[in-house]
């Protein structure tokens, strides 16, 4: 068999090799093209009016919906910036809280570091909806916190702390809660891969701990930090479930507007514009920060 192969012209061999690659990739690529690329392209063209789906659709290509969305005084654009502000706040808080955790696990703990890392990450791997539900139970007017305060006679029974639930604050609290475990991971990985001898060198050269941190550790862990930031910002900017459950009217976000346009308002064309805009923002963020985001660091190593 081996001699046959050697005797066969290189061209034929190469063709066979290409055939194997094609056989491996055809099914996954077909699936993604049909059910991932095609729908996104479809939404993009629908947002431009290129497709007539309902009798009310014009079927004429125009930028009307886009210019209405991007024009001054558009409520949706305002809502978008509100969501950006909320997501930015959440991302910053989460990274600030997760950094010490990553630092502690990577540089201060020896034997148990992977076990403790798992302790932090496990909540992330369980149901998102349930974690949000848990907070709803915690923070409601008759929820855990308020009823506990009443039982302890800290507050009168008919005067619960109302802003605990259904506020912008609650949405941000719950989002931070949800994302901390996830973000600890890339930060941990970047600090754990740090060459310890660099720290020793800095110390030998007379740098204080703070100086070593600011001039060596922090700059070297910056890629992990940026990755962590992007990993929170991207999903939270498109968030709609958490605001629905704990946000009330003041916690309403951009994602809720998209969902409402599709499920209640039934203005799918405007909804498509909003959705495509969100996708473009995410793509832009990935284009800028993508090189910091090592996909591998997600795979719990």
């Amino acid at each position: 068999m081996a001699t046959q192969e050697a005797a066969a012209p290189a061209k034929q061999w190469r063709r066979r090799e290409r055939g194997v690659t094609a056989a491996l990739l055809s099914a996954p690529m077909l699936w993604l093209l049909l059910f991932f690329v095609a729908p996104v392209v479809y939404v993009a063209s629908y947002s431009l009016g290129a497709i007539k789906l309902f009798p009310t659709d014009t079927g004429v290509i125009s930028l009307d919906d886009w210019s209405r969305f991007l024009g001054g005084g558009s409520i949706y654009l305002g809502l978008f910036w509100k969501s950006v502000r909320m997501s930015l706040t959440v991302s910053v808080v989460v990274v600030l809280l997760a950094y010490p955790i990553g630092y502690f696990l990577a540089l201060c703990v020896r034997k148990l570091k992977y076990v403790l890392l798992l302790v932090i990450i496990v909540p992330f791997l369980t149901s998102f909806l349930l974690r949000v539900l848990a907070w709803k139970v915690m923070l409601g007017d008759r929820g855990v916190v308020n009823s506990a305060l009443v039982s302890l006679h800290v507050r009168p029974a008919n005067d619960p702390i109302e802003w605990l639930l259904y506020s912008q604050f609650t949405v941000m609290l719950v989002l931070a809660y949800v994302w901390i475990p996830f973000v600890a991971l890339p930060i941990f990985v970047s600090l754990d891969n740090l060459d310890r001898s660099l720290l020793e060198a800095a110390s030998d050269l007379g740098a204080s701990r703070i100086k070593t941190f600011l001039r060596v550790t922090l700059p070297l862990s910056l890629p992990g930090l940026i990755a962590a930031f992007v990993f929170v910002f991207i999903p939270t900017i498109g968030e709609f479930v958490t605001p629905l459950l704990v946000g009330g009217t003041s916690g309403y976000m951009y994602g809720n507007a998209i969902q409402d346009l599709f499920t209640r308002g039934l203005d799918w064309q405007s909804g498509s514009v909003l959705a495509m805009f969100l996708l473009l923002v995410v793509a832009g963020l990935m284009a800028i920060f993508g090189r910091f985001v090592q996909v591998r660091s997600v795979a719990a190593d």
Binding site: P28, W31, L53, L130, I180
Partner: protein
């Protein structure tokens, strides 16, 4: 001298770590406690009961929803793992032009907002139905099959990320040895590569399963009338009398998924240890 922290710094970091652990686990523990509380989920606790768990079993709609999610999760994970194995082999063992494009494509579902993806599929299926019913009288519709299609796409990158590291450590020389001993490519795959890869396949399946079982955003647009468990849970959250029951199921699902994930993680680590610690980080991804 300890360079990373001073003594005081170390102590405060330890305290901070455990405070954060409490913050992360407290709501979950509270939820579990209230699932045994004979009354509304609020203080003071009014007595121990297990009847919420009994109510769950007799709640037909709820059990159906759980069953649907199990079916969707099983089917979508099987497909995702199969596609994931194929892609992993291509990315790691084959040379071809356009590898960066393929790699970008398979990993981009990691960052697409599920909301956007969900409505994209909703629009696609709506168009498909319009075309299909007009020309062939065939109705594709929304339902569990649509959810499966969406979940395969979002689970695929996770399965690849689980399979790649192990595949990377499986030496190609094992395949070559099998070949030299006269095994056909198919035999080599079935008798050498696949058994060695099994731990990664199992944990990839579990990762995909848990992802799908609890995915809400995509399912909420595509499930139609066949509510999956998260969609059902979400819809019922507005009914206060059902809350204790929902908390009870949630606790069970919670513990089950935690055990699943933990066993997947431990299994994967054991397997990786067995194949040696040769970290050959190749710049693929």
């Amino acid at each position: 001298m300890e360079i990373a922290t001073s003594r005081g710094g170390r102590i405060s970091l330890t305290v901070f770590f455990w405070l954060l652990v409490i913050f992360l686990y407290l709501p979950i523990v509270v939820l579990a406690v209230f699932s045994f509380n004979d009354g509304d989920p609020s203080f003071p606790l009014s007595g121990f009961t297990t009847h919420w768990y009994g109510d769950v079993v007799s709640n037909r709609v709820l059990v159906t929803a759980l069953g649907r999610s199990a079916v969707v999760a099983t089917i979508s994970s099987l497909i995702a793992v199969t596609l994931g194995v194929l892609t992993s082999f291509a990315l790691l063992r084959r040379r071809f032009r356009g590898k960066p494009v393929v790699s970008a494509l398979v990993f981009s579902p990691l960052v697409i907002p599920y909301l956007v993806f969900g409505i994209s599929l909703l629009l696609l299926f709506t168009l498909l139905d319009k075309v299909l019913t007009q020309s062939f009288g065939f109705y594709f519709g929304l339902g569990l099959h649509s959810v499966v299609i969406g979940h395969v796409v979002v689970a695929l990158p996770y399965t690849i990320l689980t399979i790649l590291p192990l595949l990377e450590r499986l030496s190609v020389s094992l395949d070559e040895a099998a070949k030299d001993l006269g095994a056909s490519p198919r035999q080599t795959f079935r008798r050498v590569t696949l058994p060695l890869l099994t731990p990664a396949l199992i944990s990839a399946f579990l990762v995909a399963f848990t992802l799908s079982f609890d995915e809400f955003a995509i399912a909420s647009f595509l499930a139609g009338t066949q509510q999956t468990w998260p969609v059902y849970l979400f819809a019922q959250l507005r009914v206060p009398s059902l809350l204790p029951q929902l908390i009870a199921v949630s606790s069970v699902v919670f513990i089950a998924s935690m055990l699943l994930v933990l066993s997947a993680e431990i299994g994967r680590r054991l397997a990786e240890r067995r194949y040696g610690r040769d970290f050959s980080a190749r710049g693929l991804v």
